[in-house]
């Protein structure tokens, strides 16, 4: 899934991709900033699969998602970020399927003229992705049979993080 607006000076470029495959952060930054000299700041956030969850070691994460809604929901939050900060570009990539420790799960890239907007928008988008984008993580334990897969529980701290941005 791919949404791309026309690029150019002062225009905002938006890319949303939901994919099974790993992503390349450097390549995504390059794609967002190519042929543009108005961007002065790029911030990225990468969520990475750890080797442990709640103190127990895991062999992989499996992510289920609601494809159409995930894309729509991410798009709505990008639009909210754009209304709040002077952004020149946003890329959000969220993976689904099986993800091994050390691999990226989610990538947010934000571009603006100055760093404040880029940093803040990346944090804002991540806080909302955690609590509002329809993805569900399941952990695979070592020696895993199907029965050993466990759904990750939502954290209250993630709700608190999203709430601090105020009434959405």
């Amino acid at each position: 899934m791919y949404v791309q607006a026309a690029s150019g000076i002062g225009k905002m470029t938006t890319t949303i991709r939901l994919q099974r495959e790993p992503f390349d952060t450097a390549k995504e930054i390059a794609a967002l900033t190519r042929s543009r000299t108005d961007i002065g700041a790029v911030a990225t956030f990468t969520g990475i699969c750890r080797t442990d969850e709640n103190g127990e070691s895991i062999t992989a994460l499996n992510l289920e998602h609601y494809p159409d809604m995930a894309e729509a929901e991410i798009g709505r939050h990008i639009e909210a970020a754009r209304q709040r900060w002077p952004l020149l570009g946003v890329t959000v990539i969220h993976r689904y399927g099986r993800i091994a420790p050390g691999e990226g799960i989610v990538l947010v890239v934000t571009a603006s003229r100055h760093r404040e907007a880029a940093f803040a928008a990346a944090e804002f988008l991540m806080d909302y992705l955690k609590t509002r984008a329809p993805f569900w993580k399941q952990v695979e334990k070592p020696g895993g049979k199907t029965g050993d897969k466990i759904w990750v529980e939502a954290k209250a701290s993630d709700d608190t993080a999203a709430e601090r941005w105020g009434g959405r």
Binding site: E64, H94, R132, P134, W151
Partner: protein, 83 residues
């Protein structure tokens, strides 16, 4: 209308999606949850704690008091854990 289930709600119900035709009087998401919970053991288990299950109408998050008239796709799922 079409109903879709995700993650452990899907596992408990035992279906990814289905077409349903709830009786008149099932007006809101909350009514629909109560009705679904009476449709069998899997449904009862999925909706045993209705405050935990989240819902969406036509790919937008909604609260239990949202009206379902005119909805083409309703989804039920646990709190989200992406990112």
């Amino acid at each position: 209308m079409k109903v879709r289930y995700f993650a452990w709600v899907r596992e408990r119900v035992g279906k990814t999606e289905e077409d349903i035709d709830p009786p008149a009087g099932v007006a809101t998401i909350g009514d629909l949850v109560s009705w679904l919970a009476r449709q069998g053991e899997g449904y009862a288990y999925a909706f045993e704690n209705p405050n935990v299950v989240r819902s969406a109408i036509d790919k937008r998050h909604v609260r239990p008091d949202a009206r379902i008239a005119g909805a083409s796709e309703i989804a039920f799922f646990p709190p989200m854990t992406g990112g």
